[in-house]
Amino acid sequence: MNLISEIGRFVIFMKFVLHRPEKAKVFWKITFREMYLIGIDSLLIVILIATFTGAVTTIQTANQLLSPSDLYPTQLMPKFVIGSVIGTSSLLELAPTVTCLVLAGKIGANIASEIGNMKVSEQIDAYEVMGINSASFVTLPKILAGLIMIPCLIIIANFLLLYGGVLACKATSSLTADDLIQGARLVFKPLYLKVMLTKSFIFAFLITSLSSFQGYYTTGGALEVGIAGTKAVTKICIFILFFDLIIAQLFLKS
């Protein structure tokens, strides 16, 4: 029952958010600032996580498939298979899902705390008294900025995952960078790109809208602002994993 009322509140909140901006010039100015905060400010963490994850995944996959085994003759295993595993899992899972789970912690907590702080310090009320639709004014630029920048970050993460794999190949003798790239290219299907982009847009919306919603309904003081940040991250992670499963089922069910 609580979940249903929460979903209802979220739908009503979004009804207020999806309004025509009061003044286009001000709206775009705020949106560009949010794009910088969401996109450029998250670049470093995305670069680090994608590169290291790519490298570690490549080393571990190579180790599992190429180590001597009683189950199958590993010497007959073509090495490009490792590239195909890395390429596919990067596109389908590592780039969109892992990146967004990290961004949930960074961007989600930040948005929830920022809006929560505005709420408890009556800044949201000040917008309302001025005749500004506060939900839309505060949230819409963040959602739009997220929908533009998070997919870009995910595309970058995808390339960096492969780049991390290439770096790992250079550090190990069991696999070459050519094997990795060849494998990744061999199994590439446009459908995988479609899945990745679908996930990236849905996850971007979840990160920005759920965190804004959590922040907007904060009551109390500094302690509650902190709790709002934590709650936002938890909810975003749960919804990302849930939608991850649904999208996989819808697109990849064989």
């Binding site: 310090s121 800044q123 000040a126 008294v129 001025m130 005749g131 500004i132």
Partner: protein, 243 residues
């Protein structure tokens, strides 16, 4: 002029306001007084639309605020200024950007005209050399002045002040009180000040409404207060407790 008729407010099964009726005239310092928890903040929030009364009417001129359409309410709100208890200044904007904000959003002024208006408002609240400072860099009294300047930036008709003296020293409190009265008279604004500071009441209370446990307990002017205390135990207790 603002008129409120039969305002009731319930939160779940708890009634906070009981059948409040009042009339607030322009150019007069209207004070809503009462102890903490008496319901005066709820009343003021109902009046500006931050809370919706359970029943009753709130008339701005001839318009019933509650029955207005969403966009009509937003338009009416552009004639309302509010000074919040915690100032509610936008902390990512400088002092002058805070005052410029409503002008940028709703006026058709050129950047030069807006700058002129911002400077006028800052001069009017006697705040100088703080244009480029952020709210975190100025004192409590200065924040109140910025709040007033922002509230009057658009030529408003109604000004609401929620505990304008909270967190201020007695001297600054008197300066802010005087400033509010001066602005009310100068621009003929309908000003409603929510306060539990009896010094404010005795200083500027031209029209006072005393709220006790969510009910309008007494109404009058500061000159009538001494006489009213003799027959009104609750008002007398509130008066004495304030000192």
């Amino acid at each position: 002029m603002i008129k409120i008729e039969h305002i009731d407010k319930w939160f779940d099964d708890r009634q906070i306001l009981f059948d409040i009726n009042a009339e607030f005239k322009p150019g007069v310092a209207n004070l809503v007084i009462g102890a903490s928890g008496s319901g005066k903040s709820v009343l003021i929030k109902c009046m500006v639309g931050l809370l919706e009364p359970t029943s009753g009417k709130i008339l701005y001129g001839n318009q019933d605020f509650i029955s207005l359409e969403y966009q009509q309410k937003q338009n009416l709100r552009r004639e309302i200024g509010m000074l919040f208890q915690n100032n509610a200044l936008f902390d990512s904007l400088t002092v002058e950007e805070n005052i410029d904000f409503p002008l940028r959003m709703f006026s058709k002024m050129s950047p030069e005209e807006r700058k002129e208006r911002v400077n006028f408002c800052l001069q009017r609240v006697q705040l100088t050399n703080a244009n480029k400072k952020y709210p975190a860099e100025i004192s409590g009294g200065m924040k109140k002045r910025v709040g007033i300047a922002r509230a009057i930036a658009l030529e408003i008709k109604y000004l609401f002040c929620d505990e304008p003296n909270s967190g201020l020293d007695p001297l600054t409190s008197r300066v802010i009180d005087k400033l509010l009265v001066d602005i009310t008279k100068e621009f003929n604004i309908t000003t409603i000040i929510n306060s539990h500071d009896m010094k404010t009441v005795l200083d500027i209370g031209e029209h006072i409404i005393f709220i006790y446990k969510g009910q309008k307990w007494w109404e009058g002017a500061k000159d009538e207060l001494t006489e009213a205390r003799k027959s009104n135990k609750e008002l007398d207790e509130f008066f004495l407790a304030s000192f």
